[in-house]
Symmetry: C2
């Protein structure tokens, strides 16, 4: 297996881009990444595009990657769209990594694009609900907010996690998001704001939930030799892991698939949770971020509430979690999220994250899950990057 | 690059499975392929699932592969859905091939599933139209039937191709389809039937066009060493190529992307069009099959009409084209088609194709294109298999 280097990243601001097409969003992020990598578009050999709700929340039903790449003049290479619900972007990066790590190609581009504002809000909510096992979950009323509401109550009941601790996740991420020029919400909020926001799925309220967003993010990876000619700040992929598994089984308070994928990612990289300086994790709801602290090994099972309350997830804490603002503040254009996580890690590891920079960041972890709830199986993608 | 062997294939009958879910369709095809490969489900290491219109013509919006695999007890491995419009199944196979050829995995499964009957016919037609560049093509009325109607008229004008020669493609494929237990239409038709059928896009009529179908197809690939323990009839992947490119540019009567992908596939395999005993090609409309004869090198540009009229595309002719019945007769559950093509080739190369067997078949080619029309770029996937 060859070393793989992230040589360039780029993204659009996340938010509601009512008047921009997926082609325009993709083009902006691709040009930024090409410029960042100092690479000619003609040197890109293979492309993967993560996009989840194409044809559902936006008219364009397919071949998104080719459309966006055409805008920068790339028209002949293999281009494949990949989908794994909320982990679609992560999977595009994983496929690009496979291509270069295996020696099949030397230069690969991973693109994530989502346009969620092509339909009304109820249409988006319905589309997301259809990422569960429609027959046995969605159609029985078992949706993502429904499931994670139950998970939150279970965590509170079993471990004494408080409603305020959940809110602290959103407060922290919104604070980080104010320092990120790419984030959808650049406004600090208080615990009271969260507790007073509209009820979505008890105990989760509006500000416990991620948003509807449009956006694109791109990463370019190469082998080590090619990277030498492109960058003085190579960021290495220490491991890239994709797994499937159950959510909430055998118990509601862990994501078994995260635990297993993390174990594999740590083993393959020779690293452990103690080595991670910052992590971008899948905070679709506040409770999820607490679970990830535990399942990724940053604290013991049940201690997620304490971890956030003690400030250990802050920039400057034990592990900076979601310095970008995460899904809660940066936004969650589904297929773009996984690659935006990679971009955030790269900026920190290069020391380019400006106001939100994690000091002396050497090793970062990105984590995304996607699809289904407790009855089924979903995807989990974990990437560890290092200087 | 390692040799890759197709060790097992399986598929459902194609047709209108109104009362069956994508899980059920996938499960049937997966079990058949596992049995054919004589392999334990637990030995599968990685999976790719081709599905194009998920969430649009069927409620299930994502993670199709995990859902189908769960039905056979496979719940932990990496599973990724891929989409490339009509070439989605072919791309799933291509990704599985990359994994094994590169040495990243030893055993990979490629699944294609499509459920098109979850919405009414106008919904399917709209969904397919949205696989063009929606902004500059579909919304200007430039659809696939529209485009290929123009292509057919151009071919007739430029090369003297007759309306009857176009009809012969459908007549041949329906004849082949009557011998295929998996085909949607098992009824022979005449040239008059085609010429008298409903006008769709002048000069293309209903029986010039492929159908709306549900179905699933699966192929399992391994490295050569693993294959030795599984099968006495190894079918080798001589080459697997994915390319992007324009349709109908610089001229309307060729698919530039097919010509280029075919050149690469022939070069990589050390084979040429003269070596191909049978080919499954993308006959979405009758005119397309004529173009493919030419662009794949089975005859000269402009001689496609003569090729079909002389019976050279028949089983027993120079190259048996679409012995399965092709999209026109076997049906076209979009994401399943590319893998059904692989299954058909495998059965012929093993000598197991019964009534429709191509005598002494040693080398077969599968060809799928997907997405967009003349203004944009689409995908083309070509696979060459050999004994």
């Amino acid at each position: 297996m060859r070393d793989v280097v992230v040589v360039g990243v780029g993204m659009t601001e996340f938010g509601k881009h009512y008047n921009r097409t997926i082609k325009e969003l993709g083009e902006e992020a691709i040009w930024k990444a090409l410029k960042d990598a100092n690479i000619d578009p003609m040197d890109i050999q293979v492309a993967y595009c993560g996009s989840t709700l194409s044809g559902i929340t936006d008219r364009q039903a397919g071949v998104i990657g080719q459309l966006a790449l055409k805008e920068v003049g790339i028209t002949k290479i293999p281009v494949t769209r990949v989908e794994n619900a909320c982990a679609s972007g992560s999977c595009a990066f994983h496929e690009a990594w496979i291509c270069v790590a295996s020696g099949m190609y030397d230069v690969a581009i991973a693109i994530g694009i989502e346009k969620m504002t092509g339909v009304d809000t109820s249409g988006v909510v319905k589309a997301l609900a259809d990422l569960t096992d429609v027959e046995i979950e969605c159609d029985q009323g078992y949706t993502f907010p429904g499931h994670f509401g139950i998970v939150a109550r279970s965590h509170m009941h079993k471990f004494g996690t408080t409603r305020e601790q959940l809110a602290m996740v959103s407060v922290k991420n919104h604070k980080n998001g104010t320092r990120n020029p790419y984030s959808q919400f650049k406004k600090e909020i208080s615990i009271e704001d969260v507790l007073n926001s509209y009820m979505i799925s008890d105990p989760l309220r509006l500000l416990d939930c991620c948003s509807i967003s449009d956006g694109a993010a791109v990463a370019i990876v190469t082998d080590k030799q090619t990277a030498k000619n492109l960058t003085d700040k190579p960021i290495y992929v220490a491991s890239s892991v994709l797994a499937s598994g159950s959510y909430g089984r055998p118990n509601l308070v862990s994501l078994e698939v995260t635990e297993r994928a993390a174990k594999e990612a740590y083993e393959k990289s020779g690293l452990g949770p103690q080595d991670i300086d910052l992590a971008e994790v899948h905070d679709a709801f506040t409770i999820n971020e607490l679970l990830h602290y535990e399942d990724l090994g940053f604290c013991k099972k049940g201690e997620g509430g304490k971890f956030i309350e003690e400030g250990q997830a802050d920039i400057g804490g034990k592990v900076a979690i979601n310095p970008s603002g995460g899904l809660l503040s940066k936004g969650h254009p589904v297929g773009a999220t996984g690659i935006a996580q990679i971009a955030e890690l790269v900026w920190h590891l290069r020391g380019d994250a400006e106001e939100r920079q994690v000091a002396n960041a050497e090793i970062g972890l990105a984590h995304c899950v996607g699809g289904f709830t407790c009855g089924g199986v979903g995807a989990c993608c974990i990437t560890i990057l290092k200087n």
